[in-house]
């Protein structure tokens, strides 16, 4: 893997910024865009996975208990999962709220 982008100098840039290895978008932390964060009441989760189907970022995976949960490194906080989750597991909260 090449250097992280934050450590690359202008001399490290490939011709025309061509990307020569796959998967480089993985290092882009789109989670920094978020102003709201999903929170979960997993007791209500029926593990239907509808949140995963609707997530435009594709950042929702099953955790070790089989519950569906967003990866906050990528989650942009759009809230679509919370709207679609009909058992009301997911609630969006402002980022500054604890």
């Amino acid at each position: 893997m090449a250097k992280p982008e934050s450590e690359m100098t202008w001399r490290d840039m490939e011709i025309g910024n061509i990307v020569t290895e796959p998967g480089s978008a993985r290092q882009y932390e789109s989670g920094t865009w978020r102003s709201q964060r999903p929170t979960y009441d997993f007791k209500k989760c029926i593990k239907c996975g509808i949140c995963q189907l609707f997530c435009p970022e594709g950042c929702i995976e099953q955790n070790k208990d089989g519950n569906f949960e967003a990866n906050l490194f990528y989650c942009k906080g759009c809230g679509i999962c919370a709207r679609e989750c009909w058992p009301r597991v997911i609630k969006m909260v402002e980022e500054e709220e604890k």
């Binding site: 982008e5 202008w10 490290d12 910024n17 061509i18 020569t20 796959p22």
Partner: protein
């Protein structure tokens, strides 16, 4: 045996592109550029040039098709003018930012409105900051020669930038001039095969034209700036080599009796030859005047310009483009910027004229020089002077 033939400059430009073995031409017709791509279409249709000719629905599509073609490693050519160049504008910085060696002939023409099909430099100045190398010529021979050089410069591994060759619409594109077309074997020897280092290739996939978040955009743009700035060395070496092989030498700043001259007229493009006659006549009358002509507009030849005017007291600049609401023409702005921090300050007098195909005659240039000298001595409350406008 190389012979000099009488040929329309547009046809000669197309023939030069053919000699360079362009592999893809994507273009849309627009006056006064049309004859160039029309003749290329004919050459491809007749089987005289083995290339893909893509007839697109607009200049935006033409440049977009050129991106894909150059990205695949094909030698790529297009041509346009005025509103066509303006329509391409959205794609132009993509070509340079992606470092794709595309060659484009631009038949310089005024921008609308009011509609004008005639020559001035407002189109080429409107794309000044798009990251293309920009070369401007004064006659048909220079157009042919610099098309050949443009392919070599653009495709050089150290450059990999798109190049525009600017020739004034009608004044050059539609006139028949005596032109030496080089031999095919000479062009083959001068112009190596295009070897784009990271072409689109299913066996070795790459991603092109990705996005750059704030953490990397500045590095990407600076890398591009260093590249275009350093391209000057390659351009100079190419022109030197061209001079050795073909006997015609080009410089970023062309000098005409300017060494030691106290007053220098600075011009660009086809009108420069008329201005040279005015210089001849004034020198015959013992006036200490000379001329410099810009050949390379981007990268701007700062050092060469400072050298060329080092003996002068007054530089009179003629711009064939008007920067509305601004400081005068773009060339005069650049010249002033190049000279401002010099220890010895000389007077720069800016004229804007020859807009939308208006001619300036030999007598006109003599008049402009005299007026310029007077303004340099007395000063003027104007940022620049408009030349030849009826009051």
């Amino acid at each position: 045996m190389t012979t000099r033939v009488g040929v329309e400059v547009s046809i000669a430009v197309a023939d030069a592109v053919k000699m360079c073995n362009a592999e893809v031409i994507a273009a849309y017709p627009i006056t006064p550029q049309t004859h160039i791509v029309e003749h290329l279409a004919e050459l491809v249709a007749n089987g005289e040039l083995d290339a893909e000719y893509i007839p697109v629905e607009s200049e935006h599509s033409a440049m977009s098709a050129c991106l894909g073609s150059a990205a695949s490693g094909a030698r790529t050519f297009t041509a346009t003018s005025s509103q066509g160049l303006a329509l391409m504008n959205e794609v132009l910085p993509v070509a340079s930012g992606m470092r794709l060696p595309i060659i484009m002939a631009v038949a310089n023409r005024a921008l609308s409105a009011p509609l004008s099909i005639w020559a001035d430099h407002s189109d080429m100045m409107s794309v000044r900051d798009t990251g293309w190398i920009q070369i401007i010529v004064e006659n048909g021979q220079q157009a042919v020669d610099n098309i050949i050089c443009a392919f070599r410069i653009a495709e050089d591994r150290r450059v990999l930038l798109p190049v525009m060759v600017h020739l004034d619409g009608f004044n050059l594109t539609h006139v028949i001039e005596p032109i030496i077309l080089p031999e095919q074997s000479e062009v083959n020897a001068f112009l190596p095969t295009n070897k784009y280092p990271l072409p689109l290739n299913p066996d070795k996939p790459v991603a092109m034209g990705g996005f750059a978040p704030p953490v990397i955009y500045t590095e990407a743009k600076w890398a591009q700036e260093v590249c275009i700035r350093d391209s000057k060395e390659v351009i100079l070496a190419c022109w030197d080599e061209f001079g050795k092989v073909f006997g015609r030498q080009y410089h970023p700043v062309e000098k005409y009796h300017s060494d030691g001259a106290k007053v220098i007229l600075l011009t660009m493009g086809s009108i420069s030859e008329t201005a040279s006659v005015a210089i001849d006549e004034m020198r015959a009358d013992d006036e200490n005047v000379g001329q410099v002509r810009l050949r390379l507009w981007r990268p701007f030849p700062f050092e060469e310009l400072r050298q060329a005017v080092k003996d002068a007291e007054i530089v009179i600049v003629l711009d064939r483009a008007i920067s509305l609401g601004g400081p005068g023409g773009p060339v005069a702005s650049e010249v002033k910027a190049a000279l401002y921090n010099q220890a010895r300050r000389l007077k720069v007098v800016a004229f804007v004229g020859a807009l939308g195909g208006r001619d300036i005659t030999v007598a006109g240039f003599k008049n402009m020089i005299k007026k310029g000298i007077e303004i340099a001595r007395t000063g003027s409350k104007n940022e620049y002077e408009i030349y030849g406008v009826r009051e």
